[in-house]
């Protein structure tokens, strides 16, 4: 498994709480998006299951004992879907395809 370059936000506890301030939240979600994409690319992963996501280190930083709550994960995935980097596999939105590159980029 390839070594992942964790961004500084990953060790910043507020990263794991969805911020109520809209401007801050946008910056936070942008960081999350690029983190999730990088992670999936380097681990060669293309499906994320919201129920199991907390087992993967990307959403759960054991070193500072913080995890992103499921609502937060869903929010990140929705954001990814908005930019064409993700797509729900089912109607309940539990399993998601992650596209390392968007269709436009190809």
């Amino acid at each position: 498994m390839a070594e992942i370059n964790w961004p500084w936000q990953y060790n910043f506890p507020p990263f794991f709480t969805i911020q109520p301030n809209k401007e801050t939240q946008k910056l936070q979600l942008d960081a999350w998006k690029s983190l999730v994409l990088d992670y999936c690319r380097s681990t060669k992963q293309c499906v994320i299951d919201v129920r199991e996501a907390n087992n993967s280190p990307v959403f759960h930083n054991a070193a500072i004992s913080r995890k992103l709550p499921p609502e937060g994960i869903l929010l990140v995935l929705e954001e990814l879907a908005a930019s064409g980097n993700a797509e729900p596999l089912d109607k309940t939105k539990t399993r998601w395809f992650i596209f390392w590159r968007t269709l436009q980029e190809l």
Partner: protein, 240 residues
């Protein structure tokens, strides 16, 4: 007074019985008076309702002074009829005077404690100082609401959470946020409790202060099982 005919146990029993009778009577009399008083009050309510209807119907005929007088009657009866009253005149003179008095009493202390006081604390202080003729929370709130219009040095402020405070008119959120961020930077992160002990303000105010800083985009929150903590907003500061 009655002459006791008998002594001994029967005599004692009788005198106890007599006493009970007397207290019973005085109790019934007291309650009779009370119910009479209540029926009178009911009449007053009905009358004042009709008068307020009249005022609403013919707004021009009654002079300003009369409505002021009428409103003080309503207040003395304890009738709350704000909708119709508000149409006649925006607020009562009683409240205006009260607002002036409150700001006079509290101005010094509020300056001392950093320019902000929770409304419940202010209420405690004023009533404690008064001793007699205490204020009801409603009176206090209504008077505080008027402070802005009367251009007093204090004003009422309601936070998003619903917490109400009295603050100095000269109070500036910008300065406070700057101070809060400086403290956050020195301590890397803080919970409302920690801030409250550090700057010696109530926890509720410390929390509001942090939330204001968050609203300005200078702080961000970390919510976990350890509780709610605030950090400097590095999302914004480290933006490349």
């Amino acid at each position: 007074t009655r002459i006791k005919l008998r002594t001994g146990i029967v005599g004692i029993e009788r005198s106890i019985h007599e006493k009970n009778k007397v207290t019973d009577e005085s109790i019934t009399v007291a309650f009779q008076d009370l119910s009479k008083l209540m029926t009178m009050a009911k009449d007053m309510v009905v009358i004042s309702k009709t008068i307020s209807d009249k005022i609403c119907n013919h707004q021009g005929e009654i002079s300003e002074d009369e409505t002021v007088k009428f409103k003080s009657y309503l207040l003395s009866l304890g009738i709350e009829d704000p909708v119709t009253r508000n149409r006649v005149q925006n607020e009562n003179q009683f409240y205006e005077n009260l607002a002036k008095e409150i700001s006079k009493i509290l101005l010094g202390t509020i300056k001392e404690i950093g320019g902000m006081m929770v409304l419940t604390d202010a209420y405690c202080r004023v009533n404690r100082a008064r001793g007699l003729e205490l204020l009801s929370p409603d009176d206090f709130l209504n008077a505080s609401k008027l402070m802005d219009q009367l251009s007093l040095p204090l004003k009422l402020r309601v936070f998003d959470s619903g917490v109400m405070v009295l603050q100095l008119l000269s109070h500036d959120d910008q300065i406070l946020v700057r101070e809060t961020v400086l403290l956050l930077r020195n301590h890397s992160s803080m919970s409302p409790q920690e801030l409250s002990t550090l700057v010696k303000i109530p926890v509720s105010l410390a929390k509001e202060r942090l939330i204001v800083a968050e609203k300005f985009g200078r702080a961000c929150r970390d919510e976990s099982i350890e509780g709610l903590r605030f950090h400097v907003n590095f999302f914004l500061e480290n933006r490349s």
